[in-house]
């Protein structure tokens, strides 16, 4: 399953940035656990795991991201 930046995470169309991954590539994560922190306009937001499974990180920290973008996969 894709891990996506939710459309309602922030209001306008600007870019955020991945601040930190809280788990590493290949680790097992449980549904609902915060996976990453994303900074937008100096505010930090958590991205929860949409499902349980093994994490594949697609976007490295300090990379700009947009709403709707796929940042990781859970298999």
């Amino acid at each position: 399953m894709d891990v996506v930046i939710a459309e309602d995470l922030w209001n306008d169309e600007g870019e955020g940035v991945i601040a930190t991954w809280l788990f590493q590539n290949g680790e097992f994560v449980r549904q609902g656990a915060p996976l990453a922190e994303v900074m937008y306009e100096k505010a930090g937001m958590e991205i929860p795991a949409p499902a349980s499974g093994h994490l594949t990180i697609l976007i490295e920290p300090e990379t700009p991201v947009r709403k709707g973008q796929v940042i990781a996969r859970i298999d």
């Binding site: 601040a19 809280l22 656990a33 900074m39 920290p61």
Partner: protein, 340 residues
């Protein structure tokens, strides 16, 4: 069934500890620059303004002398202020309130007036922020009687140490390392992000921790250098050297007992300290170990930042910082091994 890990950054763990302390004790309040709506430049006070209001979560003007002085007064009057002073580099203008007032309050009053304040501040360089935003100054504070100084290397210790610091009746300097904070733009070391229980717990001030046990050599570090040491230990193990990594956690009072126990077993010591070299924590650790009477198998060594101001250019700064590679090289020499 194993519990679900709950990973937090040090920034989140500190915010959580502050929230717990403020909920439990109405005399706890937080002040500093940009700690309100922004939640702290280093994310240490996230969500507190919304939960506790502007009376207890106070943004201050850029006047360190004024708000540190105010905090010392608040503490004398029975409050438990937690103050953030963004960068340790900025303490110069308010040192009188810290080392002449706060640190001596209990002593001068015969124990009748205490000073239960916590000063939170960021330390460390490596991200090109120049000589007035990149210092550590661990020993500058650890040198002064009456001050306790702590520096967590991971989020679990950050929460537990901050709760201990707030509960302490005397001033505690709570340092947090920028490279471990979890703010992204500073490049976070993944090892600092660990499972943090939701519940309240404390990590005692004055206790070091063994981050990795080993038998052949002690690598003593603090903050980010603990992670360099852990990385070096992996390489050394491949070469047959089983290193023990000691996380000092508290700089003052130093856990000399844990240090003596570790070097008593390994009889070899490297101290890794990203503060300036001369008269630093590294010197104090080596002197303390020697005073314990160790029958050394190799002369103790230290890997530190050199005695020069921190350059702005990364090209100049990066080669000066302690690294895992430097630890491995130094250890190999102690074992008379050639470079791989």
């Amino acid at each position: 069934m194993s519990a679900t890990p709950r990973r937090l950054t040090i920034a989140k763990a500190m915010s959580e500890a502050l929230g717990i302390a403020m909920e439990q004790d109405p005399t706890v309040l937080v002040l500093g620059e940009d700690i309100g709506a922004l939640g702290g430049v280093f994310g240490t006070t996230q969500g507190l303004l919304e939960r506790f209001g502007a009376e207890r979560v106070r943004d201050t003007p850029i006047s360190e002398t004024a708000f540190i002085g105010a905090a010392v007064g608040l503490a004398a009057a029975g409050m438990r202020p937690v103050v953030e002073l963004m960068f340790v580099d900025f303490f110069g203008v308010c040192m009188d309130a810290i080392y002449n007032l706060a640190a001596k309050q209990s002593y001068f009053s015969g124990g009748r007036v205490s000073c239960p304040m916590v000063l939170m501040t960021s330390v460390g360089g490596g991200y090109g922020d120049g000589g007035q935003h990149s210092q550590c100054l661990y020993s500058t504070f650890a040198h002064l009687p009456g001050l306790k100084v702590v520096l967590p290397s991971n989020a679990y210790d950050a929460k537990g140490l901050l709760l201990s610091a707030i509960a302490d009746s005397n001033p505690v300097i709570f340092m947090f390392h920028k490279a471990l904070q979890g703010m992204g733009w500073l490049g976070t070391v993944p090892g600092s992000i660990v499972h943090v229980p939701v519940e309240t717990y404390t990590v005692p001030i004055g206790q070091a921790a063994i981050a990795k046990s080993g038998t052949d050599i002690t690598l003593a570090g603090l903050g980010v250098t603990v992670h360099h040491a852990l990385q070096a230990a992996v390489t050394l193990l491949q070469e047959g050297i089983d290193a023990e990594v000691l996380d000092l956690r508290t700089i003052a009072p130093l856990d000399r007992k844990a240090l003596a126990a570790s070097v008593g077993r390994t009889r070899r010591l490297i101290v890794i300290d990203d503060d300036y070299r001369s008269c630093g924590v590294s010197a104090e650790v080596i002197a303390s170990a020697c005073e314990g009477g160790v029958d050394w198998l190799a002369v103790p060594a230290r890997i530190t930042y050199p005695d020069v101001p921190v350059p702005y250019s990364p090209v100049l700064e990066h080669p000066l910082l302690p690294t895992a590679a430097a630890i491995v090289d130094t250890a190999r020499r102690m074992f008379h091994r050639k470079a791989a």
